[in-house]
Symmetry: D2
Subunit: 360 residues, 4 copies
């Protein structure tokens, strides 16, 4: 079994590993940590060394098989924090079900493959393997987090020397291409789209997305870190998850509906994992936004700041995981949403509730 | 009488004056315009020439007595737009009440006085004069918008040559000091605070604020432009206003309560005027935010992006007036909120509703 | 004849037109102005409204045939200023030669053509026409300044609706593509490259450049403004020009050599027109630079700041015309350089001096 | 003895410690390293985690007594790199003189003292102690590098809770105040100013500066790291140093004069340590600069980019140590300059050369 517990701790900086004390206080050791998923306070773009710093200080404390996913950018009200997904296979007899998770890493993605088919397939295969390890149905997967590489100007120059055209010659744009390939890999693994669709989407010829995909790019790694989170009846703990979608960057209704569903199920929100992006059309609800024409602040930073405020309002605090750049992670201009929540031991089964657009 | 109508039009750029066509389509002339209140897409800080550009293209079309208030910064989902407050004294017999407005300008604020007592008193006097002109009680005022100057490095150098210490030697900080003096002037004029309190607040020795004050600073003017908006039983139109306060930068509850009150009164929201700021304590609800330690993006930009998303969600579109830097405009870390809404002709009086914290 | 005089005036802001007084003080009227070439203090990127503001305040004062070229970005030590090129056909009998200039405008460049062959050809034709008007040999041309449009997100969305793929879907990148097409058009007109080379260069398949081309993109215009500056023996005034190239962004030697040549000729530098860019290889002299991986500051801003300091040091003051984004304007990573200088009436001919790499 | 050698290596990122290989290749061990002085590619401001990352990866490799000085910000053409100052007491019989260095650390500077008298005195005492250890005259000191703390918003909030007013309530401004106190401490220790002058300068009541002081602030440390570099006749190696001053941010003449002096002495420049700042008057040589009114890019970034280009041009490559914020490090608007150079074994004494303004 792979039952998990979620510990969330604010950080005083990217190099703050005091969450290890919280871990110990809860009776766990560092070997129990499956994944560290954090928001760090850099720019979330190419030269964000807050992610590298967090990786550098955390990784020596983690076992080989664990993964880190540090997403830069705590614009607006987002509070820097880390989420520890901790293996806890104890059976809580009051539950017949529980949250499970598995983590893994793809082989290194060579710069020549970044953002391309081989990258997409590598993520697909790793996600599929992890889902199989968990032994859950695709429908029980509520979140696949991927941390993937980007192209630095050194990478781009290196490719050019070899006569290989990089997927983009702009370092910031390479982050988008990396997230896109990763996300389509997730959608393939979860059987949400077929290969033809994925290939067409990768080339920008059609739209396709997963509401459970959350990909974030960074210079601090060369392979993809993958974390799969779902529900299983082989686990028995108080955590549950659901996923939905923000249809645009101020789609409060979707968030309120999902929160209402959690509440209806007797749950309390523990964390939201949400992707945000500037609508690529340049408009939202037919009104122009300026995120794509702002040469001072990159669009991903704008999007995180905006969506972060809505998500913090829903959770009631700013320690939320909102990540920018939502290519194929929710519809264009929108973003994928996963809520992890905690239920009181159920007295009767709450799972017959339906609410359109929210997968349970 | 000074009954007003509100026309809101999106803009394609700071120099877009096509709202003049909307004005004409509605049967008004440029002489009817009392004020143009817009969001322009600059950085909202010192070197924001989008404001200057908007002023330059609009002012030749306006009568001498009209004012412009261009607030820079459409971070995140905020859509650039202009709001025209247009004099319309026609009596709609279905109403016994209506929205009124008056506009005026203080004398020039010399750089030596900027952010200081004389500045505060100048705003106070102009606001008081405008309220008197409107002939309404202070309690019927729901919004006082002020556009005030800032100190450029040329101003600061000029003061130094004269042996005068500027209120701040940092141009960005001078915007905050200008907004502070303006806002305390508003609070004084509306009898929300007494002079001792205002002086202490101006010196940073105590907190004091108005939930009806909205001040924005810019390099495009040397005096303060002032717009007072309220309700009056001498007017008879379908517009109404209320004001409230966001207690912090993701206080969705206050916005939802105010929106519910509008709805209860049979109203439809036409516009929200909201101030936003990074909590000066460095935390929100006891969690650290990073707006004040981000040396790449100024705190006012972060705050507008975050609050703008909440306000857009409430209105249902991004053409909202959210302005950054809320010194004495709502409590520290929060911000003043005014909602202008339109009611169907009332069949019975809706004004006996109460909702704590929202002034009607 | 088209003899010109050069008046340079610092500005207090993009809307400062006090150079008109300098014009009058020198006995000229606004109809004498051929071109206003200025550095304004915006970000020099997509949302730089300082350029639009300068255009808005200057153009009503200029005759139809005159052009404005406002280049945004006064990073580092660059001082905001305007250069007026003023027609002055008076013959100074002490000179047998003089500086001449001609200005013109291409037809509007539709968004679908921006950065493409039609754009390049349109600039080529306008430059050729102006050179013909001047009646000078290509070798006597020392500077062709072009101000060209960019793609806004509205343009990009509009093209997509029509099923047209824009030259770039990134607004900032569209500036580079626009400058590239303009610069290759200049090189074609001056017979520096042939059509095959230009087409290959436009597609990024080979390098090609002119050391006399200076193109700057902006949202403030829809056609290209073109200014050709050269020497002619049909004019007789004290101004001269030469052009050279910076081989990389800190190629001080080229600047010092050119300055020495001016000095040798008995000249005093009046202005430098220099293009700057971040070396696209990611390195300069085999050492990594970080301009292309900085997601907070765009590379053109970095490049202007660096090159601006060298150019200001050569001129002795910061009112220099240094413009960012040097695609095909000097070799990759370098930039074109034109120096306008003033000579005392020559006692003997100074033109037999040679200095490698500097065209006279 | 404390003879030193200087090893400079470019870095591929802040976490690149491959200079350790260069160290080994030269026959040194990590215990020989006195100081690591690097330029890292963050924003050089408050939230620059590139410095913290570099410290985190380097410090485990260094002996307790060694110090790190990482200065963030490689704007423009500056190449990220590290300089290792390595103890090497071997006597080169061809020299009667050589470069020496000593490193140390002040006690922790409490937030309440940062930027204040106690901070200044703490630096003064540590510098004095190190100079004494070296046993050289004050005049033989050519560089004192200090890395000092800043105030985060957490520090500021903590002081407020204790009722202590911080030296600044702006985190970016706190860096300036920290550099100021450190630099005046250096000037005191070197007997360049007296205590009254230092106190007056600290309060902003008068100008005072050292041309040998170089202070850089960061969030990555709580005490001040200090490195003193000078010449001594107790050492015998091929390195020498001189110091001078840039009088403003494009004072190329001072750099050229200093370089000429090195050349005259038969030396080759090995490294330049230069401070840069935006002239606080808002002008340079009577022309307005815009570094202090740019709300998108902090002034220190502009200044580094500009000065960095001049310094790189002098050295011939971009791996130069140019640091921003030159309070009391060179005159206002200028900056201190130290050149470390290598001489061939002298055949006759080169020290009788004089060149005004350059201390040898």
């Amino acid at each position: 079994m792979t039952g998990v517990r979620l510990l969330t701790a604010p950080t005083t900086g990217p190099d703050d590993i005091s969450a290890l004390e919280l871990l110990a206080d809860n009776g766990f050791g560092t070997d129990d940590v499956l994944a560290v998923v954090g928001k760090t306070e850099g720019n979330g773009c190419v030269n964000d060394f807050s992610r590298t710093l967090a990786s550098a200080v955390w990784e020596p404390h983690l076992k080989e098989a664990a993964v880190t996913v540090f997403s830069g950018g705590t614009e607006g009200v987002i509070a820097p924090h880390v989420n520890l997904l901790v293996a806890d296979d104890r059976v809580d007899p009051r539950h017949q079900r529980g949250l499970v998770a598995a983590a893994g890493t793809t082989p290194a993605i060579p710069p020549a493959e970044l953002g391309r088919v081989a990258h997409m397939e590598s993520v697909r295969d790793t996600v599929a393997k992890l889902v199989a390890e968990l032994g859950i149905a695709d429908d029980d997967v509520h979140l696949v987090l991927v941390k993937c590489p980007l192209l630095t100007s050194t990478d781009i120059a290196g490719l050019r020397v070899m006569g290989v055209e990089p997927v983009s010659d702009d370092t910031y744009e390479s982050m988008a291409r990396s997230r896109a390939a990763s996300s389509l890999g997730i959608a393939l693994a979860l059987d949400e789209i077929d290969t033809d669709t994925a290939l067409a989407a990768l080339e920008g010829r059609r739209h396709a997305w997963s509401n459970r995909a959350s990909a974030s790019a960074g210079a601090e790694l060369k392979s993809c870190h993958v974390l799969v989170v779902g529900e299983s009846d082989k686990a028995a703990n108080s955590l549950r998850a659901l996923h939905t979608e923000m249809k645009d960057a101020y789609d409060l209704d979707s968030l309120l509906s999902a929160a209402a569903l959690v509440s209806e199920r007797g749950g309390r929100i523990r964390q939201l994992f949400v992707k945000a992006e500037a609508d690529p059309s340049g408009t939202i609800r037919n009104l122009r936004h300026t995120m794509l024409t702002d040469s001072d602040i990159n669009a991903t930073r704008h999007a995180r700041a905006a969506v972060g405020a809505l998500v913090a309002a829903i959770k009631g605090d700013g320690a939320v995981y909102v990540s920018g750049g939502a290519e194929h992670q929710g519809r264009p201009g929108g973003g994928s949403v996963t809520i992890v929540y905690e239920v009181d031991p159920p007295r009767f089964t709450p799972y017959n509730t339906t609410s359109e657009g929210i997968a349970r």
